[in-house]
């Protein structure tokens, strides 16, 4: 039981066959690309969501701590909020650097081979 309508077909490239896709999926090279993506993206996602939830929970349950004044009218809550902005920018930059260095070359090698160097 597969699909009852044709899958989206390509306009410019001929799509390799299912056998070719399966062979590539099982290959060590693709395994490495997948690992390289997942080992980076999954823990980092868990990390930034945890960091964000920590912020939400502290806002909720640690009002006194968050209200501590650091300088002038700037309190811990404000700095914590700004820190969320900064970590977001940093993670975006970090992931993009990882992707350009570790993912793109592997992905392009596989793609150009599968598309017959087209």
């Amino acid at each position: 039981m597969a699909t009852d309508a044709p899958p989206p077909s390509t306009e410019q490239h001929k799509l390799p066959s299912t056998e070719e896709f399966t062979a590539v999926q099982q290959s060590a090279e693709f395994g490495e690309l997948r690992r390289s993506h997942r080992n980076f993206a999954f823990p980092l996602t868990v990390g930034f969501i945890a960091w964000y939830l920590l912020y939400v929970l502290l806002s909720n349950f640690a009002g006194d701590f968050m209200g501590t004044k650091l300088f002038g009218n700037i309190n811990v809550a404000f700095v914590f909020g700004i820190a969320q902005f900064i970590t977001t920018f940093l993670i975006a930059w970090w992931y993009s650097r990882h992707a350009a260095a570790k993912l793109d070359p592997k992905a392009e090698a596989i793609k150009s081979r599968m598309e017959g160097g087209a």
Partner: protein, 539 residues
Amino acid sequence: MSPAITLAAGEAGEHRPLIISLFAVFVLATLVITVWAGRQTKDAADFYAGGRQFSAFQNGLAVSGDYMSAASFLGIAGAIALFGYDGFLYSIGFLVAWLVALLLVAEPLRNSGRYTMGDVLAYRMRQRPVRTAAGTSTIVVSIFYLLAQMAGAGVLVSLLLGITSDAGKIGIVALVGLLMIVYVSIGGMKGTTWVQMVKAVLLISGTILITFLVLLKFDFNISDLLGKAAENSGKGTAFLEPGLQYGATGTSKLDFISLGIALVLGTAGLPHILIRFYTVPNAKAARKSVNWAIGIIGGFYLMTIALGFGAAALIKPDEIIASNPSGNTAAPLLALHLGGVDSTWGAILLATISAVAFATILAVVAGLTLASSSSFAHDIYANVIRKGKASGKEEVRAARWATVFIGIVSIGLGALARDLNVAGLVALAFAVAASANLPTILYSLFWKRFTTQGALWSIYGGLIVATGLVLFSPVVSGDPKAMFPDVDFAYFPLKNPGIISIPFGFLMGFLGTVLSKEEPDAGKYAELEVRSLTGTGAH
């Protein structure tokens, strides 16, 4: 009519020709773009994906335009102006959410889909049921979001033109609806993308101007700004701490967590954002456009702090509340006060900021309409009704008709929601997207065993529970600010359903899969997995 509204409307009234000309200039410019884009739109890839030839920066700008809705501009500024620090949570959640899109969704989606979110969800599944589900959820999420934008339009118009009669408001909502029908049905994705870019530039410029003026008043001393805001709010230092809006009871604290989760997980499931990634040539450009968007949106949200606290510092809270009970008019009122309430300069600023907000609403509404009509035409009409046998021309024709239909529906719904905080309404759209779409997208891309039944259970499960909980929440009834304040069927105490409905969506996807009698299609998954990571055969 309250004194503040009269005041603002009176001020604006004298300069009504100016306001109307600013609106007219924007509308005219965007219509020219639309007609031009319409001429360039020759096939389905042009209509749905703008020909896939936009640059990463252009798309980043357009993504920002699609994302920074009236909710961000009017809603967040209003929430900060009234509740101080608690309003800030929206900005943070809305921004952090982009990392989910960047790390897990944007590139695989660009690599393996064609025009809609449904392309990816249905890739390795039985096409008809999954596409029906994806189309349904796309349309539901988009309509929730549309409602919020329409509420924003109503608010602006009552402030600006002093129109408080229902007939007048319905007239304006109808005008917004009509314009969006024109934008989308003629200009398609190409026209809509250009409209988003123009709007993003206008919104950012307007926000920079107001931020600059606010900071100038306080000699660029943020501590002084916060101090004055706390003092003027009448709430003291509590205004600068979390808890004013959500800290009162255990229920409201839970609501805060629920909202927080919905915000951070919703973005990557918003169909009108996801289809933007099809407008660039490849996955790398999709990644870069997300990066641009994170930079632009992050900068914008940082400025909303100045907008919100600036309004709190410079305007009496009573005046903000009198003008709109949820604070939605705080930003335009701030512009008026910065220029001087009785001066021409004040009126000009008010008109400018209101025109920007109006442009924002129009553009976002166009993006949402495009997402729903694309999904209707491509997922439901072409793949379910015509079983994949419709030609590109027929699909585009269906999309254009769907645009007209959705336009009319949203005009109809627009009047209902006008007194709710716009940011709060958008948060509901996020909750539905995070419950129905995100689990299905993630399972589809990353879980080998995921099956058609799993996909259907997670989409419908998340969708039904999220919308059901909203229906029985204080947003709809049993609260003075509810849509139907006079009846009470609010059996669910939280305003945001995320904390229940998002885990439920994930759970249903899991259960649907493990209880499924059919085997997953391993060959199709190999195809999807290799395509999504390498871009082999990408459109």
